[in-house]
Amino acid sequence: MVDTLSFYIFALMALGGGVMTITRRNAVHSALWLIVSLLGAAGLFLLRGAEFLFAAQIVLYIGGVVLLILYVVMLVNLDETARARQFNKQWWIALACVAVVGAEIAFVMKRGLGALALPGVAAVAPTGEGNTERVADVLFSEYMLPFEIASLLLLVAVVGAVVMAKKRV
């Protein structure tokens, strides 16, 4: 019961925050609503037993990414932007997307929710390890290669940001 209730609260935060993010006039407000949405998602992670990801979401995503965005929003002057027309003329594409998803939902309705069933799983013996240990285990065994590539990815991001942001010599 508590779980169910918290799911709806967090889901509302995630979705409502998302809607507010994309409709705010002021980018700073958008960023603040984005934080709400991300917090909602983090709560959902907790509900689904992903403690490590919950922490990563808050520290990395909210603490890192959104702050970075906020920083840039403050850096570039946005007063004028806030007064300008906010939406471009591609609304019809967006409408088409909504239509596609609507069709998809209608299709699922017709088929019944059974169509969304996931494959069954063999019962997994509880290992007794905490979530973080298990994540670490998998990350450094099965997914060591992507982990290494990700380091390269972050290096490129740093180099890229430096290249882009430095003044012309």
Binding site: A14, L15, G18, I22, S37, V124, V135, V138, L153, L154
Partner: protein, 102 residues
Amino acid sequence: MHPVTNVHYMVLSVALLLVGTIGVLTRRNIVIILMSIELILNAVNINLVAFSHHFGDVHGQVFAIFVIAVAAAETTVALGILIALFRNKETVLADEVDLLKW
């Protein structure tokens, strides 16, 4: 109340994907477009975590970590380019970026 199932998570995730997509396609402000992309990535992560829970393993969670890392890297570079753009031309509206035909 019904117990929460994977279907709940999937519906939420599709909804968030939709919100993000609409944001990308309709907003003019580049920063807000970036935020919409973050919403899409969050929809992905919600999916991954829910499936991960269903399968009782942590592969999905590990995937989600990578998604967060990629999001961070993309944002960093995007903001770098944005600053360079802003230096040359004081706008962050996507369709005022019009030297090249959109």
